[in-house]
């Protein structure tokens, strides 16, 4: 395959960026999208040009590092991570636009690399169960109904890639935050911190500059792990419940 790539190049956070155009030849259908970019970077390096910077690590769709907007879609045309997208999803002669995640809470570091540490700070504010090592009771002391365990797992699958934020017209992190709230709040182990968790995480999410939610649903469409849109409804319910309870105190 021969392709024309239009790639966002930006030297660092302080300088303006722009799209640059590159041609790549000899692209195999079996290549992953990132292997296609590897090919481009090998050529650029040999020409003495700066290769395109992009985040990637496991290349198995689980670490959540890769983060490209491809032809306007977070992670591209298939519902998967960028690293699991293969060139068979494109045709010979295509022009492909490649941009970083676009959100005010995710500033660009270089080219296609963005700063997603806001997600870490949302988790630090309450996305955990306080269980210091050594304090745990026997694992079978508290059975968890299978539907609850499955619901927790479904939400725990989030890989923290940020596609939900990139896809959202408001740059909202509601799906990300809702996934963690839903995972932990449904479990009996998560019950003691149920209210503080949702209140603190939502407050941090807002303070980090993520936008509000208008239930556009783009997040759940872009999510490579299929976190359901309903999790946002669940978080809103948890938040209202917590607000009411804490207001009574």
């Amino acid at each position: 395959m021969k392709l024309t790539l239009r790639v966002w190049r930006q030297k660092n956070a302080d300088e303006p960026g722009a799209m640059s155009t590159y041609q790549v030849d000899d692209i195999s259908q079996d290549m992953s999208f990132l292997e296609m970019l590897d090919t481009l970077n090998e050529e650029l390096t040999l020409k003495g040009e700066d290769p395109v910077a992009f985040d990637h690590d496991c290349r198995e769709g689980i670490c959540g590092a890769c983060s490209l907007v491809i032809n306007g879609d977070a992670h591209g045309p298939e519902r998967t991570t960028t690293c699991q997208l293969h060139m068979r999803s494109f045709s010979d002669g295509d022009t492909i636009d490649i941009e970083p995640w676009r959100a005010s809470a995710f500033p660009v570091i270089k080219d296609l690399v963005v700063d997603r540490t806001a997600f870490d700070r949302v988790i630090q504010s309450g996305g955990y169960i306080s269980a210091p090592t050594g304090t745990a009771p026997e694992a079978h002391a508290t059975p968890v109904p299978k539907p609850d365990a499955d619901y927790a797992f479904e939400n725990a699958e989030c890989i923290g890639c940020g596609a939900c934020v990139a896809a959202c017209p408001n740059g909202s992190a509601m799906l990300f935050t809702a996934a963690k709230v839903s995972h932990l709040n449904v479990l009996p182990q998560g019950a003691p911190e149920r209210e503080s968790r949702v209140l603190d995480m939502v407050a941090t999410m807002d303070a980090e500059g993520f936008g509000g939610c208008t239930l556009a649903g783009e997040c759940a469409t872009a999510c490579p792990k299929g976190i359901p849109l309903f999790s946002i409804t669940n978080m809103n319910k948890e938040w209202l419940r917590a607000t009411r309870k804490s207001g009574k105190r």
């Binding site: 670490c63 630090q124 365990a149």
Partner: protein
């Protein structure tokens, strides 16, 4: 082929594990914990501990040390601690809970692990691991890890290779992700509380040793390129294994050996570097563009059946090969374990049938993993529930539907059992430097059993290190701060700067990846699934040549004062080019087969690995001698009091 300067190594004093207590094996961990000195809770915050890496071992260690009151300074090169490569572990985590009432016990897990490691691990360590396994599950459940459960609300288990009980806890095919998120959340809680100072996108490039003790690290901020020093009372390396020396492996692209190799250069012995695990169930490579290999969880072998055609060069599609013309070779050769033999045995068997010309798929480098029977027996829905995400991943990568067509699999480099030599306290030969998780060598011998890596990483991080590091800190009280103008610090920083500057200034005509591929192909050819004296000597002759060429022809664009991924990669390749040499030498010197280390010269009449216990029942701990110069071998004799070494039999 003749000896080279490098192969003329000398044998030094034996190395002994002075921390391992004597007495009955099941009491040793209690004994050690009682004998270890403690640090008064009020004094702990005066001690700084550096933890490098945030995978299962590092994440759990950092969180636990901070909970205990230590001041923790932690590093990861990823943009978030949640992305450490433990996240990709699929299958599960072992624990001797005996919830299935199927005859499991701490002693059986201990026995299985010593045997599975082909009698090249320490009994004391392995027994401790088996004891701690049960606490890990309790800890993870308390953190909200959503393990698979049954309808009654209790935890589910499955079986894994090399054992005959069901002791593996799992969260669909994403167990590593869920356990890592548990550790990451515990870590995040401490970061939020201000007890951990977290440096993300920061890569350790060297170790600071002052007056013989580990006192800090040199690290590069990957965003600004700034090189800084960080000081502490003890340093913990939780930086994972070195499988990426092979270029193609199931490791993440950025997993690397720099931290442990730099520690080795500074005096930490490197043990059993040739013990690498080739995992039997990976997706075969498709072409030269391949950047990594993808593992399919070993749990698939519970229900999938492995086969190749009986006839050589049979090109028919699998559905047109009748049952009696298929060879279910693992079930045939190993009737009692069948498809669930340990990884080393399954991988070698796959290589053998492919070498016979019976491999399938492009280039004949593959065998079938067939679920047709499982789908018929359990129904597609049950298979989907158990393995759905793995089937989806396979389909995305290969564009084939494994519900319709058998998967094709082939072995790939997956895990390294070798690593920094540590004593029972997980301390290296440099006082104050600890190594945990895959970065150390201690528990898996010559072959790791499935679902044991997660167990070891969490055992080390949650339970072992937090108990043993106290002893070191109590005996080596904080006296004076290390300052950045100490000559040892300045020398280490200058070395690091010089190395990066040299990489940037050569301006040659080859990329870092081209050298990485070259060394990787050489290692796969000569230090992979089958190793011979001639092959290893060929590799040992070639490696110094590649190294020389590297420093003549490497090209790294850009500068050191910016985000520069080419520079990161090139610097890692520098260390692979030295580590590869030690791996080959270790493989050459160990003229026996054991576990994942198969020397063609040492096999049983049936073609199984033949150990030579009289000569090689030891861990080989190597002391660095200089780049390209012969290292010194220190042997640690292995003593087996409880599990008598026998020829492993899975037939």
């Amino acid at each position: 082929m003749a000896d080279t300067d490098y192969t003329r190594y000398t044998t030094g004093e034996p190395v002994t594990d002075t921390k391992a207590p004597a007495g009955p094996v099941n009491e040793r961990w209690d004994t050690r914990r009682f004998e270890a000195k403690l640090v008064n809770p009020a004094n702990r915050r005066k001690h700084t501990v550096i933890v490098v890496g945030t995978g299962l071992a590092g994440g759990s260690a950092g969180a636990t040390l901070a909970e205990q009151g230590y001041h923790v300074v932690q590093f990861c090169f990823q943009d978030s601690p949640r992305r450490a490569h433990s996240v990709a572990a699929q299958g599960g985590i072992n624990a001797a809970k005996n919830y299935r009432n199927d005859g499991d016990s701490v002693h059986r897990l201990f026995y299985d692990t010593v045997k599975g490691g082909d009698f090249r691990a320490r009994e004391s360590n392995v027994h401790r691991l088996a004891q701690i396994s049960v606490e890990i599950i309790d800890q993870c459940v308390a953190q909200g890890v959503p393990f698979a459960r049954e309808y009654g609300g209790l935890l589910d288990n499955r079986s894994f290779g090399g054992v005959q009980v069901s002791r593996t806890f799992y969260a669909r095919g994403q167990t590593g992700q869920q356990l890592l998120l548990g550790a990451y959340q515990a870590l995040s809680r401490q970061i939020g509380a201000g007890t951990i100072e977290m440096h993300h996108r920061t890569e350790m490039l060297d170790l600071v040793v002052v007056d013989g003790k580990a006192r800090g690290i040199v690290a590069r901020d990957l965003v600004t390129g700034r090189i800084d020093t960080y000081f502490a009372d003890a340093v913990v390396l939780a930086t994972g294994g070195y499988g990426n020396v092979f270029y193609l492996s199931t490791n993440a692209m950025n997993s690397n050996a720099t931290a442990i190799w730099r520690a080795h250069r500074k005096g930490a012995y490197f043990a059993n570097p040739c013990f690498t695990q080739i995992h039997p169930t990976c997706i075969p490579r498709t072409g030269d563009h391949q950047s990594k290999l993808t593992l399919m969880s070993e749990s698939l072998r519970n229900d999938g059946r492995i086969w190749v055609p009986k006839a050589k060069g049979d090109q028919r599609p699998p559905d047109q090969i009748p049952e009696d013309e298929r060879d279910y070779y693992l079930e045939r050769i190993y009737p009692s374990f069948g498809n669930l033999v340990p990884r080393d045995i399954a991988s070698r068997a796959a290589k053998n049938v492919c070498d016979e010309g019976r491999g399938v798929g492009p280039g004949g480098q593959g065998v079938y993993l067939d679920f047709a029977e499982a789908i018929e027996r359990m129904g597609r829905k049950t298979v989907e529930a158990k393995y759905g995400n793995l089937f989806d991943m396979y389909q995305r990568i290969t564009d084939e539907d494994p519900y319709q067509v058998p998967m094709r699999i082939y072995p790939a480099v997956h895990y390294t059992m070798g690593g920094l030599w540590v004593d029972y306290d997980l301390q290296t030969t440099i006082p104050g430097l600890f190594a945990i998780g895959e970065a150390n060598f201690s528990d898996h011998g010559a072959n790791r059993l499935g679902a044991s890596a997660l167990m070891q990483g969490l055992a080390d991080g949650y339970f072992v290190l937090p108990s043993t590091i106290n002893d070191y800190l109590a005996r080596n009280p904080h006296t004076e701060d290390v300052s950045a103008d100490h000559p040892a610090v300045q020398e280490t920083v200058a070395d690091t700067q010089d190395r990066l500057n040299l990489l940037l200034s050569v301006d040659g005509d080859r990329t870092p990846d081209s050298f990485h591929r070259e060394i990787g192909e050489l290692m796969w050819e000569y230090c992979g699934m089958a190793r011979t004296e001639d092959g290893l000597r060929t590799a040992l002759a070639r490696i110094p040549e590649i190294r020389e060429e590297f420093w003549r022809r490497i090209k790294v664009p850009g500068t050191g004062e910016e985000f520069n991924q080419s520079l990161e990669r090139a610097n890692r390749v520098v260390d692979y080019l030295e580590l590869a040499e030690l791996m080959c030498l270790d493989a050459l010197h160990r003229a026996e087969s054991c576990g994942g280390h198969f020397r063609v010269e040492s096999q049983t009449p049936d073609g199984e690995a033949a150990r030579r216990d009289e000569e090689f029942s030891y861990a080989a701990a190597w002391e660095f001698g200089g780049t390209g110069e012969a290292p010194v071998l220190h042997k640690e004799d292995l003593v087996f009091e409880y599990v008598h070494p026998t020829q492993r039999s899975y037939a």
